[in-house]
Symmetry: C2
Subunit: 212 residues, 2 copies
């Protein structure tokens, strides 16, 4: 039986790989698990059938037999727990990799989401031009700390893990901002993620949907 | 051997239980695991010894033997994985509970963090008064969806789990805003969390630190 995920019928980013289904596709590709994709329109995402799968009306979701999950982080963790390749076998290293998954979504991503909100939902507001540099500085604070931790290592904690998959995915949202140019170590880290064959396959798969 | 967590020497909230160590204390109390607390000053949080434990210079951290973890979500998950009481035994229900943990920190908490940022870091900015209602509306959108999912159930997915522990903790940050009064179902849900003996013990323990 093959799991089924949901993705945007038409991603707002036009196929840059920033929609969250790319994170799940990447995890599935890393572990070699084939999957089906069901595309959903923005209208369908707000309807009862989809809300029963995802209470917040978003993508991706994950269905496998009797199990239905939402939230990218938990879907990636579920995949990592059931296949080799995304979490270390050593119990302590495994727990640390999960720390990095949460750090990606709860410490690094929030100011990045704030930037997206300012740019998209508040783009027409009179304060946005003056406010954006403050938001950028809050992102910079996090990137400095992350960069200091990474130092000259390839990955956040030894070998590549679901923690790196989540962190690279979160950082990719910053590419258009130009802020990554200030952090060559993080840029190289992101490039290592993108160079993984599994990432490339995931990226191509989501691109194919958005360039039909 | 007893695990050691870190907490603010003096919490910015003065003991309202909103600092993230309360979430970890609550989890430890739910499973009946005694713990030690090491208090850290704001200055010590930015020094190398603490940064080696927490790359982003925050609290809480968790040390147990050779293992050192950071990020509240992952610490709570680690506790839940190693003791009975915070995750269902059924594999599918367990995965769904973890979905709710991620939903708490990556879907519900980001707009709440944005409100805190607006109120604290941008309190002196000329746009904040006009901008706050927009931030509140984004929180409202999430609360409506969460409230619709919860309906008249006691907990998010059957029995109380680490997902509820994280969600109630995130929602508690909204108490001072008054917005919770618009959502009686969620207010009752939070009250059920606060009524748990384990929560009360966790709250009292953090309060004792902040009222020395």
């Amino acid at each position: 039986m093959t799991p089924t995920i949901t993705a945007f019928e038409r991603s707002p980013d036009g196929g840059k790989g920033l929609a969250r289904d790319t994170r799940v596709r990447w995890a599935l590709e890393e572990v070699g698990q084939p999957y089906e994709v069901r595309l959903v329109s923005f209208q369908a995402m707000k309807e009862p059938a989809h809300l029963a799968l995802h209470p917040f009306g978003q993508i991706p979701t994950y269905e496998h037999g009797d199990l239905a999950l939402f939230e990218t982080g938990s879907i990636v963790l579920h995949i990592a727990e059931h296949h080799a390749g995304l979490l270390p076998r050593d119990a302590n290293a495994r727990a640390r990799a999960i720390s990095w998954m949460f750090a990606a979504v709860n410490t690094v991503e929030p100011p990045i989401l704030e930037l997206a909100t300012a740019r998209i939902l508040e783009s027409d507001k009179p304060w946005t031009r003056e406010r954006l540099p403050l938001v950028m500085d809050r992102i910079r604070d996090r990137l400095k700390q992350l960069s200091a931790h990474l130092d000259d290592a390839d990955w956040l904690d030894g070998t590549f893990s679901a923690g790196d998959l989540m962190m690279v995915s979160v950082l990719l949202r910053l590419r258009a901002s130009g802020i990554l140019d200030e952090f060559p170590g993080l840029s190289a880290y992101i490039a290592r993620g993108e160079a993984r064959p599994a990432y490339k396959r995931a990226f191509e798969a989501q691109l194919a949907v958005n360039t039909r």
